[in-house]
Structure formats: C-alpha cells, structure tokens
Amino acid sequence: MNCAEKRQMIVPILVLAFFISASFLWIFYFHNYQLKRIIETTRLLNVISGDIRELNRTVQSGILTLDDKYAVQSAGYSLKVFAGLARLEETYPDKARIIEALHMDYYVKLVSIGSLFIEKRLDEGRRRLNEIEAGYTKIDYEISRLTAAHSNEYRTAVRNINIFMASAAIVFVVMVISIIKLFFYYAKKRREADLALVEAKAYTDNIILSMADILMVINPDATIHTVNHALCEMLGYPEDELTGASLEMVLAEEVFINGALLKTLLTLMEDGSIRDHQVVFKTKGGEKIPVSIHASVMFTGNGEQRRSNGIIWVARDLREVMELQKQLVHSEKMASLGTMATGVAHEIKNPLAIIHQGVEYLKPSLSADPLLLDVASQIKDAVLRADRIVKGLMVFSRQTSFRFEDTELTLFIEDTLMLVEGQLKMKHVGVVRQFSQGLPLIKADSTQMMQVFLNVIENALEAMPDGGTITVSLKKPSANFVIVSFVDTGQGIPEIKVLKVFEPFFTTKSKNAHAGLGLSIAKGIVDGHGGSLSVESEEGKGTRVTIALPVKQKEITDD
C-alpha cells in the first residue's frame, strides 16, 4: 500500500481508535462511578434493612426485659442503622432523612419500653409495643419502597449500559468491517493497477511484436535487446535466440567491411536518425536479405543526464522491391525492343522487296540450269520467310487501335469454330461446348478477338497431332467478367516453359513454322480489351487457356 492509501486508511483507524477509547473511558467511568454507586446503594439499603430487622428481632427477643445483653445489641444495631443512613444521604438525602427520623422515633420508643414493663405499667407498655410495631412497619415500608425504586434505577442503568455496549459493539464491528473492506479495496485497486500496467506493457509488446515492419532494438554494446515477430520470421531465429545475441549474428559480412557499419552508426549518433540506409541481413540458414533501415537513437533521462539507451531499427525487406525493379527494367527493355523491332522491320521491308523482285526477274534466266533454279528458289523461300518474320514483328509492335462493338460470345465462338472446321475434322479433334446461359454481351474488336481465339485453337490443334478434344466453355463468374476457356488434351507444356509462353519469339513448335509471337500478340489484344489471358498446363495431359473478358459496362480506353 502506498502513502496516499495509508493516509486514507489512517482516518477510519483513528476514528475507530478514538471511538474505542471513548467507549472504554465511558464504560470505565460509568461502571466505576455510576454503576458502582448504584450497586453500593442497593447493598447499603439491604444492609440498613437487615440491621433494622435485627434490631427489631432483638426487640422481640429480649429488650422487653431490657437485659444488658440485648440493650448493648440494640444500641449496636441502632448505630449501624444511623451509620448506614448517613451514607445513604449521599444518594438519597431526602429519603435518608425521613428514614432517620422514623428510626429515631422508633428507637426512642424502643428504649423506653423497658422501664414500662419493669415498672409494671403494662397497659402503657403494650401500647408502646404497638407503636413500636407500627414504627418498624413504617421504616420497613420506606426502605422497601426506596429499594424498589432504586432497583428500577439499577435496572434502567444496566439496561442503558447494555444498549450502549450493544450499539458500541455494532459500531465497532461496522468500523472494523469497513476498515477491512477498505484494506481489500486498496489491495484490489493495487492489483488492478498492476494488472493494467501489465496489460499496457503486454499491449505495447504486442504492437512491437505484431508490427508488419521489422523492428529491432539494439543495446549500446551492439547486442540485440528486442526483436519483433516479423524479424524472427524473416531471419528464421526464435525470439530467445535473438535477444541478447550480438549484432554480427544477423548481419551479412559485407556490412562490416571497411567499418561501414561503424560509420553509419556514428552518423546516426550525430543526427539522431538515418533513413533508407541499406544493410544486408543474414538468416539462420545463411540466406542474405537486403533491407532498408530507418534507424533512430533511443534516449533516456533529460537535460544533462540525457544519454543514449540504444538504437531502434525499423527495416523493410527490399527483395520484392528489387524484383519489381527488375521486372520494370525488363518491361522497359521489352518495350524498347518492340520499338526497335518495328523500326528494323520497316527498314528491312524494302531491301526484302528488292531481293524478292530481283529473284523473280532472274528466275527465267536461270531456267536452263536446274541447280541455279534451285538456288533461286531457296533465295525466294528465304526472302519469304524473312518477310513473314517482318510481318509478324510489325503485327507484334503495331499500335493497335481497337474498334469495339457489342459481341455475343456464343455466336462469336461458333463463327470461329466454323473457320477451323476443316482442320478439326482432318486432325480428328472433337469439340465439346460448355456454354452457360444468359451471358451478357461483351465489347470486343471482333477481328482481333477472332485472331486470339484462332491462335489458341491453333496451338491446341498442334498439341494434339493424333487427335483429341477441345473443350470450350463460357462462364459468367462475376457481374463484371466472362470467362472463356479452351482445354485441350494435348501434350501439354513443361512447367518451366509455361512461364515463358507469353515471351515474344518463344515457341515450343519448330522455329521454321512459327515466329513464336502468337500468344504474346493474343495477350496484348486481350489486355487491350481490359481482360486477362492465362495458361495452365500439365505435361502429357493437356493445356488450359483461360481468357477473362469484361462485361460491356466497363469503360475500355483505347491505348
């Protein structure tokens, strides 16, 4: 219990102590002076009553003869009665005086009776005797009445003190209970405060622990003070292994080269914080992870006593960023490549045309020599191939502008299938149609979209040289998209190659037949529609091409 609480407890305790002392003092006073007096008086009354009775008895037994013995006894009793009455005067002055007067009267008569009988004044004697009887009765009556009244007083006093003690006891108990309650109350408050503290700490700890960012607090002696969950996950160490470990354990060696880290830390000390500093972490398995650090110094104390207590590192995993950067670079390379290809294609077209025309012009002159003719044909074939490549390139890099119109997909696909009907029959490939009902219209450039579907179907056909099945399905998976999927039962694409299918010039078929631009062009067209094209394949089982196309509500911008 702290001081404030102690102070608060003191008040009821003091009140209780005061109350107890006051009660005891009062009881002591009351008992000693009041009650004692009352009890004394009761006893006194009994004694006086007893003495008078004894006196009367002495009268009855022997005073009639006024025998010396009885005379002495009587005098003794009378004195006792007088003494008792003198003491009684303290409590009941009026009554005492009345009884004293009665007793005096009685005693005088008592003493005088003797000579009456001795002198044989019998009648007088008997009269006197009656008077004595009456006198005694009167005294006895007075004392009885007084005793009764006094008993009442005694009873009242006892009752009062009982009531007082009962209420005192109750108050005492109540006070003790409240003190105990207060005690427990403060104990509870204390516990709650402690609990709140613990919870607050747990909360703070939880923040640190649950942070998505990686947090590490480093002691001034370059050991790790605190780590959070994200860091542990990244580095693959459990928390207890990291806490207290040296910084060297989690950093890659190159960080320490040339005292680079030291320099960094010094800068940090001067400025108070550094941002976007690159460092390489080392996982438990030895893997190196590049991170960007935002570091700050932790201070304790204020004014002159301010000193650094450690360094806080908040780190960001740079791998993803780097990956994205790589991809960006790659895309840019591809884009520039595309532009370059278009330029080259344009430039090459003319020389190719010249070569083509020249060969045609020379062909009749070479008809006599079959070898020369053959050479001329080979040249022509080569030119044609080059031309095809150029055309393909131009198509690939052409700035396409789409002409969108509302298209009903079911009919569109049927039209497409009709175009390749002959090929399907020839290759013994069956078509399974899974068309959902109630498909909305899509906005599509029919020429280009047809090119996409044809390309996919052609790929499928080529993957099934010995026949198979193409399953075409149309689904509306959401309010915004329609899915067209083509599944073939062909030879499939090996896993490592699946990722590359959209790369220009990539082909699984012979290079002579295909430039390898089909899927990349198809993807470009689908992307231009605001959709997506994806390929899944399992070698030996087949390939699925999924095309998602937006429903016509969506605004599609021309690029």
């Binding site: 010396d68 009587s74 003794g76 009378s78 004195l79 007088f82 003493v111 000579s115």
Partner: protein
Amino acid sequence: MKTILTMALSLLLIANAVYGGSAAPAIRVSGASTIQPLAEKIAELYTRKYRRIASVQGGGSQAGIDDVRSHTSDIGMVSRVLKKEEKSWLNFTTFGFDAVVFIVNISNPLSRINKGTVVELFRGDIKSWKKLNGQDEAVLLVSKQPGRSTLELFEDYSGLKHPVGRKKGVNGLISMDALEIGSNLESATLVGGVPGAIGYVSVGTANSLISQGMPVKILTLDGVPATKENILNKSYPISRELNLVRPEWDQKSREYIDLFLGDEGRKLIINMGFVPNLKSEITK
C-alpha cells in the same frame, strides 16, 4: 425404674427449692433504678442462701421511699443522700457510692466537658455538635424523668430545672426537646444507639455496660475523671450515696442488706461499677 423415679422426684424438689417462689416473695425491694441491677443480683444471692424470693422493682428513688412508707415494699433503694425529713423516720444503710457521669455516643470525639457546656447543651442553646467537636450531628439530650434521684443530682449540679411544674433553676430550665428516660440502662442504651446523643447516668451502670460493649464513653467532668478515688474523695463533682432504707430493720431485711455488705456483695458492688462503702454499718 426406681432410679428414674428418684431422679424425677429430686429434680422436682430442687426445682421447688429454687423456684419455689410462685409463692409470694419474702422480700420486696423497689426504688432507684441505679441500684436495681445490683439489687437484682443480690436477690439471686438471697434466694440461693435463704431459699426465699426477693423481688426487685425500679421506679426511682422517690418511689422507693414511697413504697416503703406505704408498706408496698420492704426495702427502698435510694440513690441519694437522704433528706433530713426522711432520715427522721427511716433507717438507712449507705452501702456504696455512685457518681453521675455524662456519657456520649462512642462516635463523639469529645472526652471532657465542663459545667458551662453542660448547661448550654441541656438548656438547648447548642443544637449541633459542630462547634464543640466538628461533627455535623444534631444534639440529642437524654435526661431523666422526675422522681429519679439522678435527675435531682443533675438539677443540683447544672442549675437547670426540669421544665415541668417547677420554678426555674439558677441557670434556667432543661430543654423541652430533651428525651426523658426512666432507668439508667435506658439512658445508656439510647445514648449508645444514637450518634449525637448525650446523657447522664450512674457511673456504675455506665462502667458495667461499657464493659459489656455498650458503645458509649464517660466524659471527664470539669477536669476530674470519674475514677473510684475521685468519687470517694469527692473530688468528682457529682457523687452520691447509695442507700437502702426501711423504717425498721427486721430479720428478713437485715438478711438481705447484709448481703450487700458481705464479701460477695462487695464484689458485686465493684463489678457494678459502684464504690463500696467500707465503713458501712447498719445505722439506727
């Protein structure tokens, strides 16, 4: 059987002898209550010796004389000096001396008193003991009834007369509030039983009762304590003769009186607190 009968008979006889006095007493004695207790004891002696009953009664010295005159009693007890007139027709024996002492209750711190105070007290001038001994007690005066020689002695000493029917004394009258008591025993009993009481009694009675535990004490009067010597040599202010009187002595009365003068009688006299008269003899 025989033994029992004999025993019963002997008992009867003895009883008769001792208590044979359902018959009329042989001697009747009456008079001063001062002498009465002594006379009763002597009567016991008498009965033992002579197998006759002597009956003793009180009534006061005057009653004693009157009874003797009227032949109601055989012997009168008078606790004062006989008057000249009385001496003319009475025989008397002064068997001892007595004194009148003032007694107070034992709770009274006083031990001496003088005439002046006595007068003031008994005249009623002083109502509370406060001035005299510091005690806040009311004064209770115990005086004697008329006809008692003790009263006469007091009157002579104090100069206060009994309030009823007499002329005033030198110092006035005894207070009307004073209680009147008959015998000495009564006086002593009253004084012993009431804290603020003062009375006057025969020294014999006083001493005898004090020795039995009566809660009273004798005051030194005018500087003279009431000792035997002081009584005998008359230095004590209030002393008196103890007399037995009779017109003429006869055999029976002489027997009785002799007992007073005998050794046993003397002892009894002393026990009673009186002073025996060693020179006594029957006069006349």
